[in-house]
């Protein structure tokens, strides 16, 4: 026979470098987006703590406010806000790719779907603001 042996051992299998995600801007944004889930989770926890403090009476609520005003907590929340915004914006950008809406047999353009998402966001924020600031 011919010298055909072990070709599969001779294939070069490049390893994915640990820092593969800094190689492209889009990969970096993607990893940041994945990371943003941690801050989304933190926001949920923080909100639950807030609700708990409110229900536990005025003293508890004041303690929570004092804790929230500490520079470390403030810093974490600022970072968290940025990440949550980043998460929201990229999520809305995604929506137009995943959702296909038809009106009278015609496919609604992606921009409209994104716009509708932002509009809903604004309305929800307004309602929350009205409830809180009333």
């Amino acid at each position: 026979m011919t010298g055909y042996t072990g070709l599969y051992q001779r294939l070069y299998r490049p390893r994915v470098p640990i820092l593969w995600w800094v190689r492209r801007r889009s990969y970096l944004l993607f990893v940041l987006r994945e990371l943003s889930s941690v801050f989304v989770a933190w926001s949920v926890v923080y909100t639950l703590l807030l609700v708990h403090a409110v229900t536990a009476g005025e003293r508890s609520y004041r303690g929570f406010l004092a804790w929230s005003a500490r520079p470390q907590v403030l810093a974490v929340n600022v970072v968290a806000l940025l990440f949550v915004l980043f998460h929201a914006v990229t999520w809305f950008a995604l929506a137009s790719r995943a959702v296909v809406v038809r009106v009278r047999g015609r496919r609604v353009p992606g921009v409209w779907i994104v716009a509708a998402n932002y509009a809903l966001w604004a309305v929800a924020s307004a309602i929350v603001a009205w409830v809180v600031l009333r």
């Binding site: 070709l7 001779r10 294939l11 070069y12 299998r13 490049p14 994915v16 593969w20 995600w21 190689r23 492209r24 889009s26 990969y27 993607f30 994945e34 995604l94 790719r97 995943a98 959702v99 296909v100 047999g105």
Partner: protein, 245 residues
Amino acid sequence: MADTITLEVARYRPEQEDEPTTQCYEIPMRREWTVLDGLNHVKDRLDGTLSFRWSCRMGICGSCGMTIDGDPVLACETFLTDHHPGPVRVEPLRNFPVIRDLVVELTDFMAKLPHVMPWLVADEPPPDTEYLQKPAEVDEYQQYSMCINCMLCYAACPVYGLERDFLGPALIALAQRYNLDSRDHGDHDRLEILSAPEGIWDCTFVGECSRACPKGVDPAGAIQRYKLEAAKRTVRSLLLPRGRR
């Protein structure tokens, strides 16, 4: 414009070396030349041992996918002028084992291909004439039928690089191509493979596959659409009584 441009080509000769090296070739700089023309100049006049795949040279056969200056592209659609003054770095597609030089091994894709059942599944014998399909119904799946199997989306997908079992962008888009075809009744059969962990749920929506696609297929969009569909099915199966699903 300079008279010449340098191609920095990744070489891998499995009988001689354990890992790839780089070889530089100086080639004429011509306005009408693609990187593929440059590689053919090397092959024909400078070094007959350089190996790469190519065939149609018009962006339809899908043979000449390579990494050029870091991006997964078709060599026949990448013009030297866009990489002037060089040097132009030419490497094999990422995320695939390299057989030799710029030639990568595609067996994984070819083996997975039949799993998504990329054919029309009919639930009854076809009519004597054509199936009627309005232009709007053709538009539903046409974009996903444009895939030339060039593998650029696999090279662009970090998930495929890390997770070899992932079906990958092109195959999921291909399954969607048939799922969305009004003549097809196979979506139920494809559900199992697509909604398995190695199917749509492995995709974390990096979106690079759609950016890399030279034919505008948008596999990332196909996958997100299917995720929504699969999620709806799951909810329906939990909420509705068996008969109404």
